[in-house]
Symmetry: C2
Subunit: 143 residues, 2 copies
DNA sequence: TACCTTTCTGAAAGTCATTTTCATTTTCCT
DNA sequence: AGGAAAATGAAAATGACTTTCAGAAAGGTA
């Protein structure tokens, strides 16, 4: 099941309706590797779909997160960003605090250790956030 | 050097002044294990020091972070929290999404792996955020 | 100690991302 | 096709945080 089908499934499950706006937003959202804020996506969509309002885009991004189509990211700049989620492709982030570049990484050993830590405290983990902030190779070289 | 002395040192270094409000806020802040939001600390201080304003408390908490007395935490609930920082005592967090309980953990192997990941991408890490969200043992048992 | 420049403070106003409201439009079940 | 339920978009509201500003306090200097 691709992500568009998964979203439709989620809408049906929640008793919500499929609208042209939601499809347009979903396709644009999936068709990029970016980490969109509502503002980013609003500006991008405005070119071809000037009638779609900011509130609708924000509501829809939150809905994507609820449906498991996207995850919310917060890199501490005051804006929530949304990232398209690929099934079975969990990853964490390296964030350059100078140029804003974001690199994804996966480290199964860290995942294992996390699970051990949680188990040691009796926690049942639902999700986690792991972000490394610093300078990317370019910015480190030029500073 | 204790943290009060370190704070005074930082004030002097920045050319800032030591005021009674800053000392009151610092002592209250250090005298607790909590993860304070500005609001939390404002409400707590209001009992004994009703004249200290919200803005002063928030400015002071930010200043603590700049001076390395505190770190800013963001658990995704829209409020920034500040945690007193002990020298040489880095840790990460387990957060219960049901009751709000926060447990600190340390896992040196994870720290090592992080450093390896960063090095593999040429990143120079300045700080990181690692939070595990789920249900604490109590909440897991009662759900 | 008295002065005086700089920084602080508190209240109120301002920002800004996000959320809600509400009148109208659209979806989709029967 | 008809109609209940949900969605939309514009505007207003919210809430955390930040800034402004006039008076107060700190702390260096003479």
């Amino acid at each position: 099941m691709d992500r568009i089908a998964a979203f439709n499934e989620c809408l049906r499950h929640k008793g919500l309706k499929n609208t042209s706006q939601r499809m347009i937003i979903l396709e644009t959202f999936l068709g990029s590797k970016s980490h969109y804020s509502t503002e980013d996506l609003y500006l991008k969509l405005r070119k071809d779909h000037p009638k779609i309002g900011y509130a609708t885009i924000h509501r829809t991004l939150k809905l994507f997160a609820e449906c498991g189509i996207a995850i919310e990211l917060n890199f501490g700049d005051g804006q929530t960003r949304f990232e398209p989620l690929r099934a079975n492709h969990h990853h964490d982030h390296l964030v350059c605090t100078s140029c804003g570049k974001v690199i994804e990484f996966t480290e199964p050993q860290i995942e294992d250790l996390q699970a051990q830590v949680a188990a040691a405290h009796g926690f049942v983990i639902k999700r986690h956030r792991h972000e490394l902030y610093g300078l990317c190779s370019n910015c480190a070289a030029n500073s």
